[in-house]
């Protein structure tokens, strides 16, 4: 009798356990099913763009929702690359890489210098300037746009890269803020030790601080590259010569609905312009996520 109840009890426990396991499995399936489906919906338009860039003209508007081209048409990329007005996308990519590459380098290096001043040196007016800098973060670009344009056009800088690059010589408040936070986390004892060893201020910055804030520099670099690569308004205002067009301007002209005919090529060039961005995203996801989570950088 005793044994029988024990067995049944054990059986019930076993059953309960199985039930719980089943429930857990069910919940896992439900979670991965719904969250995964939502994730698929999220990237569906991007996948669609890449798929459309490989479809032939007869398929693009017919077999629309499909993500797998029936016949892969590389010609879209070849035709698209030819560009317009005898200027190929080689020129546009070169321009964009100059703008984004040099722009990022300037942005990040000047921001690091300024961050060092705010985080490690004491000087009169430090708090005031830090507050002013944070305030400029809230300032809409539109207020500065017109006087800056007047200034640059009087300097004869319209249709050169100068209006795009020169302002980046002076750092960006977001990156400065990010790096100040980072430098503050580095123990001050390191500064003292370096100074005892006879390290100058500049030496302290270049030999101690700069190598230690590498993660912050990478994060700032990624965002600077993204913003510069995707920037539309500044090139739109300052560059009228198609030879100087960046990718974003070139795409806009190329995809002008009044003139556009070869949609496969337009989609191909659009998709291609996203490739550098996605490569960086996949390689540096950690830095991007940390950058946003800790300082509220906008993506």
């Amino acid at each position: 009798m005793m044994k029988a109840t024990e067995i049944t009890q054990a059986g019930i426990a076993e059953k309960e356990k199985k039930k719980a396991q089943k429930k857990q499995l069910f919940r896992a399936i439900l979670y991965h099913g719904s969250v995964g489906l939502l994730g698929f919906i999220m990237i569906y338009p991007i996948l669609w763009l890449f798929a459309a860039s490989l479809k032939g003209p007869e398929e693009i508007w017919v077999n629309m929702a499909s993500l797998i081209p029936k016949k892969i048409v590389i010609a879209n990329y070849v035709n698209g690359w030819k560009g317009f007005g005898n200027i190929t996308f080689t020129t546009f990519y070169k321009n964009s890489f100059i703008f984004a590459g040099i722009g990022t380098l300037l942005h990040v290096s000047s921001s690091a210098l300024v961050a060092f001043a705010f985080a490690r040196i004491k000087f009169v007016g430090q708090k005031f300037w830090f507050g002013v800098m944070l305030l400029t973060l809230m300032l809409p670009q539109q207020v500065l746009l017109i006087p800056q344009y007047i200034m640059f056009s009087k300097l004869g800088w319209v249709n050169t890269f100068a209006p795009l690059l020169v302002p980046r010589l002076f750092g960006h408040p977001f990156f400065i803020f990010l790096m100040v936070q980072f430098i503050r986390g580095i123990p001050k004892e390191l500064d003292d030790a370096a100074e005892i060893d006879g390290c100058s201020r500049a030496g302290l910055f270049f030999r101690i601080i700069l190598p230690l804030i590498q993660p912050a520099i990478i994060t700032a670099g990624i965002f600077s590259f993204y913003w510069t690569w995707g920037d539309f308004m500044t090139p739109l205002i300052y560059l009228n010569n198609p030879k100087l067009y960046t990718i974003s301007l070139a795409l806009r002209t190329y995809a002008d609905p009044a003139a556009a005919t070869d949609w496969g090529a337009i989609f191909a060039m659009s998709a291609l312009s996203l490739v550098p961005v996605f490569i960086i995203f996949i390689m540096c996801q950690k830095y991007i996520i940390e950058g946003i989570s800790t300082s509220g950088l906008k993506g």
């Binding site: 979670y31 991965h32 995964g36 939502l38 994730g39 999220m42 338009p45 991007i46 669609w48 929702a65 210098l113 001043a117 705010f118 040196i121 004491k122 000087f123 009169v124 300037w129 002013v132 809230m138 300032l139 809409p140 539109q142 207020v143 500065l144 017109i146 006087p147 200034m151 302002p167 010589l169 002076f170 750092g171 400065i176 100074e195 005892i196 201020r201 993204y226 995707g230 739109l236 205002i237 974003s248 806009r252 995809a255 002008d256 609905p257 949609w263 337009i266 989609f267 659009s270 312009s273 996203l274 961005v277 996605f278 996801q285 991007i288 996520i289 946003i292 989570s293 509220g296 993506g299």
Partner: protein, 318 residues
């Protein structure tokens, strides 16, 4: 500043060597030397332009001739006679107060979905963030225009459900929704910030709520939301500001015109057209100042209201 420097001195009283003392004194020369990149840039590209913009707002100026002082005429025209201006204001407000709440709600829901230790979460996080990576790129705006085209993807899918989709970008009533959906789709950054906020909520709070018999919904209302209020405030302010400034997407989708019937003529686009298409630099400067004041006003309201709804831990519990 004074407080922190005296603290440093107190901290270093053990070894009052000369060298050390010098280190913690003010070092204005080095400070301003390292600060100079930003400071020069601030004066040249922020301070002087702001001053110039303020002056230009009261002038008529087409770049070719010298600015002519017109007093408040720009503002008078803007507020009383310029119908397109009011259309752009209406479009922008509608966009901000529809798209930004949607984006924040999606961001919060997805952050909560991803706030678990299950497998694959980092993959999902990357998928949800991917649309924001391409953010304001022209490629996405071009794609969006076609996706919402008359025979585009959206209508194709709607047709699959037996719904005849409208001509989204041809109808002034539906055009703005393409931009709103675009904004709602790109909720990645606020989502990551919410996620960071959610991870900071101590699990004990949920445990004690469970002991008190709270269900999921109550836990959300009485633990999650109050603990997230400061993050909500931050996201709300940042997203609201960026919403008021929307430009590139509206430009591409409407091919720079704000058509159909000005339904995509957002404020920044109208400002751009005034400045760089018709070269009314004075009028557009006045518009920029109104924009600045409107943004400052709404930011101030949000901050002011935050004392009633943002929960700070140091104040004690709820």
């Amino acid at each position: 500043m004074k407080g922190s420097s005296s603290q440093d001195v107190i901290g270093k009283t053990v070894e009052p060597s000369r060298k050390r003392k010098r280190h913690y004194r003010h070092d204005n020369l080095a400070g301003y030397a390292f600060l100079s990149p930003w400071l020069i840039g601030f004066v040249l590209f922020v301070f002087l332009p702001i001053a110039a913009s303020f002056f230009l707002a009261f002038t008529k100026y087409d770049i070719l001739r010298a600015p002519r002082w017109v007093g408040l005429a720009n503002f008078e025209k803007m507020f009383t006679r310029d119908l397109r201006y009011w259309r752009s204001v209406k479009v922008t407000f509608f966009y901000v107060f529809t798209a930004i709440p949607l984006r924040l709600v999606f961001a919060l829901i997805c952050a909560m979905l991803l706030n678990t230790k299950r497998r694959m979460v980092s993959v999902y996080r990357a998928l949800y963030y991917a649309p924001s990576v391409v953010g304001t790129s022209v490629a996405v705006a071009v794609m969006w225009r076609e996706v919402f085209g008359k025979e585009g993807l959206v209508n194709y899918i709607l047709a699959g459900f037996g719904i005849a989709g409208p001509i989204w970008l041809g109808d002034p009533n539906t055009a703005i929704w393409t931009l709103i959906v675009l904004a709602a789709w790109q909720f990645g950054s606020p989502m990551l910030i919410f996620l960071a906020g959610l991870k900071q909520i101590p699990p004990e709070l949920y445990e004690s709520a469970s002991i008190d018999g709270a269900d999921r919904w109550r836990k959300f209302l009485h633990v999650t939301l109050p603990m997230l209020t400061s993050v909500i405030l931050f996201n709300m302010v940042m997203q609201m500001i960026s919403g008021f400034l929307i430009f590139a997407q509206a430009f591409i989708v409407s091919n720079g015109t704000g058509a159909p019937m000005d339904s995509l003529l957002v404020y920044a686009l109208y400002l751009y057209r005034q400045a760089f298409v018709t070269f009314k630099m004075g009028y557009s400067s006045a518009m920029a100042w109104v924009l600045l004041l409107v943004i400052a006003f709404f930011t101030a309201i949000v901050f002011k209201s935050s004392q009633y709804w943002v929960f700070y831990e140091s104040e004690g519990g709820e």
